[in-house]
């Protein structure tokens, strides 16, 4: 058994800078592809996970995307309100476990304050508070995992949603962005959901209605919160989150609430449409990444080939002093293969690193965690690059063997 490593290591050592640049080029080309694929998947999984808590959404007829973005991702913006009668109807429709109004308009230090019911806050009992308890009366608040308010803390909501742009703020400055007289007390903290709701403050919907001078669904002086409400005293709400009893009930409810007064949708439906668009973009980016990868690898291999041809004398000397053809073949093949395969592995790691970094940045903007996971697609990409490298490496190795020793010695 022969050992080509001394020559391979010596060549790498001698051409250290070239090796590093080559490895970096291959790794970067690989990383771009991996990051695009991993990031798109993370975005899909993260956004789908954020929608898990919303089986069926009801809103005013209009843009389904806007309804999902506003209620599921709390990208708060003015959307048409669905009439209070629709909420009343939802409450009494068979097959509904709970119908939760989602009302907003205020914030505290940038945390959106969402008015809803206790059943939605703990997702029908499946998400009990980590600490404290659910709100039980007006003026009580339940904070998400990322809200840095201790239990017992008191705060006054500010009018306006923090997500709005400065221009919007300036326009509305006189009428908005002022503190309300109501003071909330934090009574509980929800476990982390790794989505934008971790930054939200949940309060009885009646408080949000009352602050904005709307009827509360109860007698005026009534301090009661949550259903049953008096249908005649229910104001409009941006969205209603419906929890159906079963899958079949969910489909029935979707049909029942698709009326001239309301629309009903599964957030997953809207997300799938977004994913389809995202998928097209991803395909295009993947193609670009692949093209970059191919171009870089071809350029690198051509440079290596030229380098090997220039080293014909070195290989001729090795053969003259006793190295067999297989030894010289192994030296060249190993030198190329290790670079390409090493670049693929480093690129895989770099790609995941970039995807993780992008996730942090995007999560901060979108409000939900983007879980970066290993996928077969990226591994396949890395494996194909590595295998291509191993195969392509045979080309300069074979070419070098075609040069007769004596001719190689003459240089």
């Amino acid at each position: 058994m022969f050992n080509p490593l001394p020559v391979v290591v010596a060549d790498y050592r001698r051409n250290r800078l070239l090796v590093i640049i080559t490895l970096a080029l291959i790794a970067i080309a690989m990383a771009i592809g991996v990051a695009v694929i991993a990031q798109e998947r993370a975005l899909r999984q993260g956004s789908a996970r954020a929608a898990d808590d919303f089986d069926l959404l009801i809103g005013a007829p209009g843009s389904p995307t806007q309804l999902v973005l506003t209620s599921v991702y709390l990208r708060l913006q003015a959307i048409p309100l669905v009439d209070g009668q629709v909420l009343a109807k939802a409450m009494r429709t068979p097959g509904v476990r709970y119908a939760a109004p989602i009302a907003f308009g205020d914030n505290y230090l940038g945390h959106p304050i969402v008015g809803t019911i206790a059943a939605f806050a703990d997702r029908g009992g499946s998400l009990p508070p980590d600490a404290g308890r659910l709100f039980a009366r007006r003026g009580e608040a339940l904070v998400g995992a990322k809200v840095m308010l201790p239990i017992g803390a008191k705060f006054r909501p500010e009018h306006g949603a923090h997500h709005e742009s400065h221009a919007d703020h300036d326009d509305d400055h006189d009428a908005a962005d002022h503190e309300h007289a109501l003071e909330y007390t934090v009574v509980g903290r929800l476990p982390a959901r790794h989505n934008v709701w971790d930054s939200a403050i949940l309060v009885p919907v009646e408080d949000v209605w009352a602050i904005h001078g709307l009827p509360t669904g109860h007698a005026d002086a009534d301090a009661q919160i949550g259903p049953p409400w008096d249908a005649a005293k229910l104001p409009g709400v941006p969205a209603i989150a419906l929890k159906p009893d079963s899958v079949s009930a969910a489909y029935a409810l979707r049909i029942a609430f698709r009326t001239p007064q309301s629309t009903a949708l599964f957030p997953a439906e809207v997300l799938n449409e977004l994913y389809a668009t995202l998928g097209d973009v991803r395909d295009l980016m993947s193609l670009l990444a692949l093209a970059t990868q191919v171009l870089v690898v071809v350029a690198v291999l051509l440079a290596l080939l030229v380098g090997f041809l220039a080293r014909a004398r070195q290989f001729a000397v090795l053969r003259a002093i006793g190295a067999g053809r297989h030894y010289v073949f192994a030296v060249i093949w190993l030198e190329v293969s290790v670079l390409v395969a090493g670049g693929a592995v480093v690129g895989l790691a770099l790609g995941y690193g970039a995807a993780e970094l992008l996730s942090v940045v995007i999560a901060a903007r979108l409000g939900f965690t983007l879980p970066v996971t290993f996928g077969a697609e990226e591994l396949l990409l890395a494996a194909s690059l590595a295998v291509s490298g191993l195969l392509i490496a045979t080309l300069p190795a074979l070419l070098s063997l075609r040069t007769p020793i004596a001719q190689g010695l003459k240089g």
């Binding site: 058994m1 022969f2 050992n3 080509p4 490593l5 001394p6 020559v7 290591v9 010596a10 060549d11 790498y12 050592r13 001698r14 004398r313 070195q314 000397v317 090795l318 053969r319 003259a320 002093i321 006793g322 190295a323 067999g324 053809r325 030894y327 007769p404 020793i405 004596a406 010695l409």
Partner: protein
């Protein structure tokens, strides 16, 4: 027949496309342990003859017997093995592997047929390095004289029966020419190997047992009086 005995008969060689032979060697015999110098004008074919004797350049006709092996008839793999085990080659331009240390270069031929050099071989490489008096630095950091000394040590790693040297001192200054010539001859003498040197250097050729001149593709014996 000793493995360092050389018998060449009816050898002819021409480059592809040439009308006439570059080399015609009807008979050439060298006894094991003998030292032979070959001189001749530039382009006379001295290096080509040496390459033929090393099995590097395939001949058109004839046989080249080193001991019992006709290397002109050996297949490529066997020829590579023969060169690795029986032959030591010294080049004008040293041809060390840059990036490898002096010791690594001396041990390099060991990697052609084994994964790891034996402790005995490592010890021998160390002794050779000490004997040629070169520092154990990376090849590109050695002076020209040091590089050639390391190249001589590399050629002697497996105690070959045959040493072929192509202009071993031509690239060196006067001091190093003397040092390398003396070293080469001393080491060959110590090992009892056959040495064939192609050279223009009269001072080196004068120290060898025999001298031949290559003229018109034919070898001519040079009488001692003309040396």
């Amino acid at each position: 027949m000793a493995t360092g005995d050389l018998h060449v008969s009816e050898l002819s060689f021409r480059f592809a496309g040439q009308a006439s032979d570059l080399l015609r060697v009807d008979q050439l015999s060298i006894a094991h342990g003998q030292t032979l110098g070959i001189r001749g004008a530039s382009g006379a074919g001295k290096s080509t003859l040496l390459h033929c004797l090393a099995g590097i350049e395939p001949v058109d006709r004839g046989s080249i017997r080193w001991g019992g092996d006709d290397i002109a008839a050996l297949p490529a793999a066997a020829l590579a093995r023969w060169r690795a085990q029986r032959l030591g080659l010294v080049f004008q331009d040293f041809h060390l592997v840059e990036g490898l240390s002096a010791l690594g270069n001396i041990l390099l031929p060991a990697s052609f047929n084994s994964w790891r050099a034996s402790p005995a071989l490592k010890q021998r490489a160390g002794e050779l390095l000490a004997r040629v008096g070169a520092p154990n630095r990376r090849a590109e950091l050695l002076s020209r004289g040091e590089r050639q000394r390391v190249a001589v040590a590399r050629a002697l790693l497996f105690k070959p029966e045959v040493i072929l040297a192509d202009e071993p001192t031509a690239s060196l200054d006067a001091d190093n020419r003397e040092i390398v010539s003396a070293l080469l001859l001393d080491l060959v003498s110590e090992h009892g190997a056959t040495l064939i040197v192609v050279s223009h250097e009269a001072h080196l050729l004068a120290r060898l047992d025999r001298q031949l001149e290559l003229r018109g593709g034919v070898l001519h014996e040079i009488e001692e009086s003309h040396v």
